[in-house]
């Protein structure tokens, strides 16, 4: 359609002009000291030149414990690579809570991003979204981050393995490949407790029907075997049924640690670890630590607390500070903070480190004595 083709660029030009005016130094001078954004956001929360924000367009609760949000990011959002995550800031009872989620939609579209969030027990943000998300809601949206993504040069054969909510980044990879017309073989192996826990069941089955190069196997771990004989947790039989020559594939796996451990062991046994990319997707169990009796000093804020055994991120928040953070599980590194001096326990491994002028992740570190942080 010629009309449509000419309309789009002129709309883009108008948008660029608008942005140029809004970010001009004259307007900045007129809106000092607050800045243009503080006036724009009064009109609509997603109007912002400097902060990524998204509006929820559609909400679906497709399985017993998930919510799928179709969102429209503002122009500040630069898009993502299939498999990466974004930090989402949701205001709950007046407090902004930030978590990391991997978009499930195909990369390449910056105007629409799909997020599927699984609620888990005690999960403040996931339960809130599962219960209260509705169209018209806004949230903060960071730039995408993470090394787990489809390489720029697409591999010919790709194997995707996921469990539970780990499906989102690998689904983004699958959808991206299909949108690009990828012709090579794609295997998709997914684990979920039952059909009622599987938000993408219909879509995956349709994709497998319509695309001969896509082989799909889903194991419902709490249900009997399907016609392929797929049942239970990850096993050699599953791999053989889907991709017997899995060494020929570039493999992307995302899910809880037990699945990833089994996959890693298999790939290591075959000597093909270099073709395996993994991302852990469930909050790791933090090794509980008793209060060390030490003092935590947040040097930049001039605040001091005595260690209560919680992570440094939790202790900083309890002291009224607001350190930048994201996943709260040691993945995204948003909460990396400099330790001037101190003894710190890694809450994932239990390792105790004495640090001088070193960096730690606040969300997975707890004091093992006195700690002084640049915070």
């Amino acid at each position: 359609m010629p009309a449509a083709q000419t309309a789009a660029p002129s709309r883009r030009r108008r948008g660029a002009l608008r942005r140029q005016i809004l970010s001009s130094s004259l307007l900045e001078s007129l809106t000092t000291p607050h800045g243009v954004d503080r006036y724009l956001e009064i009109l609509k929360p997603s109007y912002s030149l400097s902060d990524g924000r998204a509006e929820v367009l559609d909400v679906e609760r497709r399985s017993v414990d998930t919510v799928t949000l179709t969102t429209r990011p503002n122009r500040r959002f630069a898009g993502f690579e299939a498999g990466q995550f974004v930090r989402v800031g949701v205001e709950i009872n007046g407090v902004r809570e930030t978590r990391c989620y991997s978009p499930a939609s195909a990369a390449g579209r910056t105007d629409q991003v799909e997020l599927t969030i699984k609620s888990h027990p005690g999960g403040k943000v996931s339960n809130y979204l599962r219960e209260h998300a509705q169209p018209g809601m806004f949230f903060e949206l960071s730039d995408a981050d993470g090394d787990f993504h489809l390489p720029a040069e697409r591999p010919e054969r790709i194997l995707l393995i996921s469990a539970g909510s780990g499906i989102t980044p690998v689904l983004a990879i699958l959808r991206t490949l299909l949108a690009e017309g990828h012709a090579g073989p794609i295997g998709f192996l997914h684990y979920t407790p039952g059909a009622d826990h599987h938000p993408y069941r219909e879509e995956l089955e349709r994709i497998a029907r319509e695309n001969p190069n896509v082989a799909l196997a889903v194991s419902y771990t709490r249900e009997p075997a399907d016609e392929l004989g797929i049942e239970g947790h990850f096993s050699a039989a599953h791999l053989n049924a889907l991709a017997p020559e899995h060494g020929e594939y570039e493999t992307f796996a995302c899910g809880p640690e037990p699945l990833l451990d089994a996959v890693r062991a298999r790939w290591a046994g075959d000597g093909i670890e270099h073709r395996l990319h993994v991302e852990s997707f469930t909050p790791p169990l933090l090794v509980a630590a008793p209060a060390s009796g030490g003092t935590v000093r947040f040097a930049d804020s001039g605040v001091e607390v005595s260690d209560d055994g919680n992570t440094l991120l939790e202790q900083a928040e309890a002291a009224g500070l607001n350190p930048e953070h994201g996943c709260r599980m040691g993945i995204c590194r948003s909460c990396t903070c400099k330790v001037r001096a101190g003894v710190v326990r890694n809450a994932l491994t239990g390792d105790v480190l004495e640090i001088t002028d070193g960096e730690i992740q606040l969300c997975i570190s707890s004091p093992a004595g006195d700690v002084e942080l640049e915070l």
Partner: protein
């Protein structure tokens, strides 16, 4: 009524002061645990009103050649600046909304529509004034280094100009506040040097230049031939804000009945004694809801000094609890209407312009006029 209770606080034993402090601490804990949606909605609605009034005011001033538009625009802009400085800026920079983790409402990052740079204010006000409230030699808000607001400041012929200086300070209050941190009186006394204060001065000049350019260059120029109307409107709005904030702020610590303290009295203060000093050193203003919003809830100066980081819109309800506690302990709770409180401040400004008529013993001077026998200690020093 300036004082609602007249029991002699001297009768408070150290343990009573501590249990008084514990009751206040309990109020604090209760409200801190209850922070949430309600507070977020409140501050955002004020911000929305302020931004709306500002845009409307500046828009109307472009038609300032029409007298109703000039009046309406100037009034809207004045209200916007008052809200921005008092109910939003002052309170946000106290950290009242830090728990929300919204960078736009963070005490560390907030900047307000006035000459004083936010980071300097956070030091001179949040720390110096709120920690050392009404302590001579420490709280520089007593007289702002210009005025004589206390008998404790020795009279000099310079202070004959007290009423004149006060009028000038009120007129240019935003600059008075901005230059406050320069501590010019300490430079004059040789305690510090201009060189040491250079970074502070640079910060003030940078902020002031932006503020002046906005109100007196860019917006007037945009109005073309209407420039004089815009300029006059902006100047009037700034002046109104200056006079109003001066009046409210001077009613916080200088009306009759507000107590002052010496450094010795406050050495090794306990938490209970600190609360006690904050209470005796502050005074409230009575009025309607709109009045409280327009005063940034500094009309609840007592509650603000007890709980500077609790969202100020809660002070009205907290004041009911605090005055009840004060009544029980027989501690004076200073509160009165604006005309009366400000009247007593003006009287003090004039009275202190002249040398003290007859030097009274300290015990008499510090006492409540209605309780002439009250001694100075007020139970602040554990017996």
């Amino acid at each position: 009524m300036t004082q609602t209770t007249h029991t002699d606080p001297r009768t408070l034993t150290p343990s009573q002061i501590e249990s008084f402090g514990a009751e206040l601490e309990a109020i604090r804990d209760k409200h801190m645990a209850d922070l949430g949606e309600r507070d977020a909605r409140y501050i955002r609605s004020i911000i929305k009103a302020q931004r709306g009034l500002e845009v409307a005011g500046r828009g109307l001033l472009f038609f300032g050649f029409l007298p109703p538009a000039w009046l309406g625009g100037t009034a809207a802009l004045a209200v916007s600046k008052i809200l921005d400085n008092m109910e939003i800026g002052h309170n946000v920079m106290h950290g009242q909304y830090d728990w929300m983790r919204d960078p736009g409402l963070s005490s560390k990052g907030f900047e307000w529509d006035t000459a004083c740079p936010g980071d300097q204010w956070r030091h001179s006000h949040n720390y110096m004034h709120h920690t050392h409230t009404n302590i001579h030699g420490k709280d520089r808000d007593i007289g702002y280094g210009i005025l004589r607001m206390s008998e404790e400041q020795e009279w000099r012929p310079y202070y004959l100009g007290n009423p004149l200086y006060a009028t000038l300070l009120a007129t240019f209050f935003q600059y008075g506040v901005a230059f406050h941190d320069l501590e010019t009186e300490r430079i004059a006394a040789g305690e510090t040097t201009w060189a040491e204060k250079k970074p502070i001065l640079d910060g003030i000049i940078k902020k002031m230049r932006r503020q002046l350019a906005k109100d007196y260059v860019f917006f007037p120029l945009l109005a073309g031939p209407g420039a004089p109307f815009v300029l006059a409107g902006n100047a009037t709005a700034n002046l109104s804000r200056n006079l109003w904030s001066f009046m409210i702020i001077f009613c916080g610590h200088f009306p009759d009945g507000v107590e002052e303290f010496t450094e010795e009295e406050c050495e090794n203060e306990t938490r209970g004694q600190w609360y006690y000093r904050q209470l005796l050193g502050s005074a409230n203003l009575t009025g309607g809801k709109l009045f409280h919003i327009m005063s940034g809830n500094l009309s609840f100066q007592v509650e603000h000094h007890l709980f500077p980081d609790i969202p100020a819109h809660r002070y009205a309800e907290i004041s009911v609890e605090v005055s009840e506690i004060c009544a029980r302990y027989g501690i004076p709770y200073n509160s009165g209407p604006l005309a009366k409180q400000f009247g007593s401040v003006v009287k003090k400004i004039f009275r202190l312009a002249l040398p003290d008529r007859k030097p009274e013993p300290k015990a008499q001077r510090l006492s409540d006029p209605l309780e002439p026998e009250r001694p100075a200690e007020r139970g602040l020093i554990p017996a």
